[in-house]
């Protein structure tokens, strides 16, 4: 049987579906009886979804310009 410490360590593997079927079953049994772990796993899940919805941070115009200039220099040398 898993304990809360195990759940805290393996919560990402659980929500990402990276646990073996047996470990996953043990995990679910623990969640069934443990309110605190249900809250914890739900927070990890919400954090992951929140981050995914935010998406990527675009490069600054200066960074883009620097890359484009390097590419253009390279093209001219050819």
């Amino acid at each position: 049987m898993l304990n809360c410490r195990d759940v805290a360590h393996e919560a990402s593997d659980y929500i990402d579906d990276n646990l073996s079927w047996w470990r996953r079953l043990m995990f679910r049994l623990h969640l069934f009886i443990c309110h605190n772990c249900r809250v914890f796993v739900s927070h990890v899940h919400t954090t992951r979804e929140f981050i995914r919805k935010r998406g990527t941070t675009n490069a600054s115009p200066e960074q883009v310009q620097k890359v484009m200039s390097a590419v253009e220099r390279q093209s001219e040398q050819k």
Binding site: C4, R5, C37, T46, T47, K53, Q74
Partner: protein, 206 residues
């Protein structure tokens, strides 16, 4: 400014269309930089990414589409970084994850010694959906800051997996690390961001 990395116009990219390439740079420069930093460290990363973009542009006509364009680019920057590392004959120390003790949720003091039950349970959140969290501007800044100070490998794994949604196996190839290590780094990064959300929910501050 944030937005998801959608599919790119591969036909225009293969023709080395400048506008399409510029859009690609705009969206993927940050994760490319994170990959380079995780391999060669801060001082060489900018240069390595610059070289990777030039190399990518040159090779775009030969891009066969066997992987996504993102995976192809991450592989190019990873190879550039590894080549550079060999040339410089430098060793960049891998993060020792046992030294990364800043994840409160995994600390021994969080659990009872016997039985391993919560001693300090996770707090309740009044904003408990991703959409509610997305409306909090100050929280977004806190998250950006926290991501920027994650250790390099943790940040790269987090960006590649949770933002760019690369497969674990691809991340292992790109960063030359094992899958179990990637999973540990990813979990730690998520928990650090979760702590930021905890604190924000409790105090309204970072």
């Amino acid at each position: 400014m944030t937005q998801s990395s959608d599919s790119f116009d591969q036909d225009r990219l293969r023709q080395q269309d400048h506008a399409a390439f510029e859009a690609l740079v705009c969206k993927l420069h940050s994760p490319m930089l994170s990959v380079a930093r995780a391999i060669v460290g801060d001082s060489l990363a900018e240069e390595v990414v610059q070289e990777a973009w030039v190399s990518a542009y040159r090779n775009l006509p030969r891009f066969e589409g066997r992987s996504s364009i993102k995976t192809w680019l991450f592989t190019i920057v990873s190879n550039e970084a590894k080549t550079r590392l060999r040339k410089e004959k430098r060793m960049v120390a891998l993060e020792d994850i046992t030294q990364d003790g800043s994840v409160d949720y995994l600390g021994d003091d969080r659990f009872h010694r016997f039985g391993g039950h919560w001693k300090q349970p996770p707090p309740d959140w009044h904003l408990d959906s991703p959409d509610q969290l997305l409306e909090e501007r100050h929280l977004q800044k806190c998250i950006d800051h926290t991501v920027s100070i994650l250790p390099p490998q943790q940040r790269a794994v987090f960006l590649l997996r949770d933002i760019e949604q690369e497969a674990l196996s691809e991340i292992c190839n790109i960063l030359d690390v094992t899958e179990s290590y990637v999973r540990v780094l990813l979990h730690r990064a998520r928990l650090k961001l979760m702590q930021v959300i905890d604190r924000y929910q409790e105090t309204g501050e970072c």
